[in-house]
């Protein structure tokens, strides 16, 4: 597989007419979205709208998918998951996926550093960001509290040097003080040129961070909002999200 760089113009992520299935249930019905390098994009929607499924489809973890997903210009729809990741993908799953048989530190060091991509965060930096993790670094991963596990799940992919991060509800279950730290972290990542696709329930958290928003409903994109339009489209958004 040769990684063709289609010039600087290639979007970090380009999804066209994405279909997705779990077994026999069809959950994604033609998703179209594009993310440019260095952007922070948030997927909004109600429970069960299909946001997590989109992230899973990108990483190849959904049951079956069709359509087109290009990462950095490379078509990935036919690739196995582990190859897709090497295009510079970092995925933080909704259910956190902390490994019980590994210690916190082993969990943290688990994802291999991806070659040919950005330099990941150092372990020191990560521990400064999440002091809890340092304190509990030798205990088994799943013995951490719910929130600590969430931190670990995020921290883990910052190390690999992936430059396209897929973050699924990372503020969930965290104390406000940590949520604020995460917000600072995302701002920082953006400054460093990372591309971020977030799924968020917590609109307050996402609002100041994202450049653009996609609203998902029934496995489709139903609305696209720029940060600048946010004020104006607030009523629409509230209606869509049922606030």
């Amino acid at each position: 597989m040769s990684v063709q760089v289609v010039g600087a113009a290639a979007p970090a992520l380009e999804i066209t007419n994405l279909q997705g299935w779990y077994g026999e249930s069809h959950v994604l019905h033609g998703v179209n979205l594009t993310v440019q390098p260095g952007e922070v994009v948030t997927l909004l929607g109600r429970n069960g709208a299909g946001r997590t499924s989109i992230l899973r489809a990108i990483t190849g973890l959904i049951g079956k998918r069709a359509g087109s997903i290009k990462i950095g210009g490379v078509e990935t729809i036919g690739m196995p998951t582990h190859k897709i990741t090497h295009l510079g993908l970092g995925y933080c799953p909704e259910e956190r996926g902390i490994f019980a048989s590994l210690t916190t530190e082993e969990n943290l060091l688990l994802p291999p550093v991806l070659k040919g991509h950005g330099k990941g965060m150092g372990i020191e930096e990560i521990y400064t960001l999440f002091p809890n993790l340092q304190e509990r670094k030798h205990s088994p991963g799943t013995r951490l509290s719910g929130g600590e596990q969430q931190m670990l799940a995020v921290a883990r992919i910052l190390r690999t040097g992936a430059n396209l991060l897929l973050l699924d509800e990372i503020s969930e279950g965290l104390a406000p003080v940590i949520v604020q730290a995460l917000a600072r972290m995302i701002t920082l990542l953006r400054q460093r040129g990372y591309t971020v696709v977030m799924v968020e329930q917590n609109f307050r958290f996402a609002a100041p961070l994202a450049d653009r928003f996609y609203v998902i409903e029934h496995g489709q994109v139903v609305e696209h909002i720029l940060a600048s339009e946010l004020e104006d489209k607030m009523p629409l958004l509230n209606e869509l999200l049922g606030v």
Partner: protein
């Protein structure tokens, strides 16, 4: 001083040594089971059959091709390991997402097939394999005559066991493997070729069984049924050690060999039952096994 419960000390000592030899087989077999269970979540009932295959392949290589023992020590695990990988690709691959039970049943089915095939080819009385020239004879330890070959079995299996343990518990590859057991999809999402890793792991676990088979060939009659009785005992060892625990299976394997050895002296009739008695006791006190982690 020189008798314990009416048994002379030297006799006791020799029985302990013999127990250790058997323990080495248990250790290496239960280790393979633990590796496979730990990483694939499959109870490999076929382990006994593959152990047998290791021995039979060794015999075949000698009989048809004249390949000697030492080469087979390497080749048999390789051949059987490859066979294991084919099994994994063809059969096991489809059942990982299902309950453990299906793995057990599938491998039980495979066991019947493999043993049946070898039985039709070679009958049941078995085949004879002689001890390699280098290890013939024995050492007089004063209190007993220790065949050199048995001493070699202990050394060889200890080395293999410890190497495996190190690989899994202390290396990065090991960390992938352990993580892969819990959530293979996610590990794959970190960029690791998990399907390949799983295939190789099964191959490796099976190779361990085959290695034990090669070690066993000169000691026991090489027969299609040789794995059948062993496998149940080894299951018990794995349960006692704590399933999936690598160190647990090694230590428990050796320990049970020794306990069995002692039983052979004091109450020989019970020597193959003692494993299960120990298991019952251990479970009453520590439901997760000696080295197992409580969830």
């Amino acid at each position: 001083m020189d008798t314990i419960f009416g048994v002379p000390l030297p006799a006791l000592l020799s029985q302990l040594l013999l127990g250790l030899v058997n323990g080495s087989f248990y250790a290496i077999l239960s280790l393979g089971l633990a590796v496979i269970f730990g990483l694939l979540n499959v109870i490999n009932f076929a382990h006994g059959a593959l152990f047998m295959m290791g021995a039979v392949v060794t015999w075949m290589a000698m009989h048809y091709l004249g390949i000697n023992y030492w080469l087979m020590l390497l080749l048999a695990p390789l051949v059987v390991g490859c066979f294991g990988m084919v099994i994994e690709r063809l059969f096991l691959r489809w059942i990982y997402k299902l309950d453990h039970i299906y793995g057990l049943l599938l491998t039980l089915g495979l066991t019947l097939l493999i043993e049946g095939a070898f039985r039709s080819a070679y009958g049941v009385s078995g085949l004879s394999y002689s001890t390699p020239a280098l290890l013939q004879g024995g050492i007089n330890l004063g209190f007993m005559f220790m065949p050199k070959y048995r001493a070699w079995v202990v050394v060889a299996s200890l080395i293999v066991c410890l190497a495996t343990w190190y690989l899994i518990e202390k290396t990065r590859l090991g960390a992938y493997l352990r993580a892969g057991t819990e959530n293979p999809r996610l590990v794959e999402a970190f960029g690791i070729n998990v399907p390949l890793m799983i295939t190789l792991t099964y191959g490796a676990g099976v190779a361990l069984a085959a290695f034990a088979g090669v070690l066993a060939a000169p000691i026991y009659q090489v027969s299609p049924l040789m794995g059948q009785n062993l496998i149940i005992t080894v299951f018990a060892v794995v349960v006692i050690g704590g399933m999936g625990s690598i160190m647990g299976s090694i230590v428990t394997g050796l320990l049970l060999g020794v306990i069995e050895g002692l039983t052979r002296v004091f109450y020989p009739e019970a020597s193959s039952t003692v494993v299960f008695v120990v298991m019952a006791i251990v479970l009453l006190i520590r439901p997760a096994g000696l080295f197992g982690k409580e969830h």
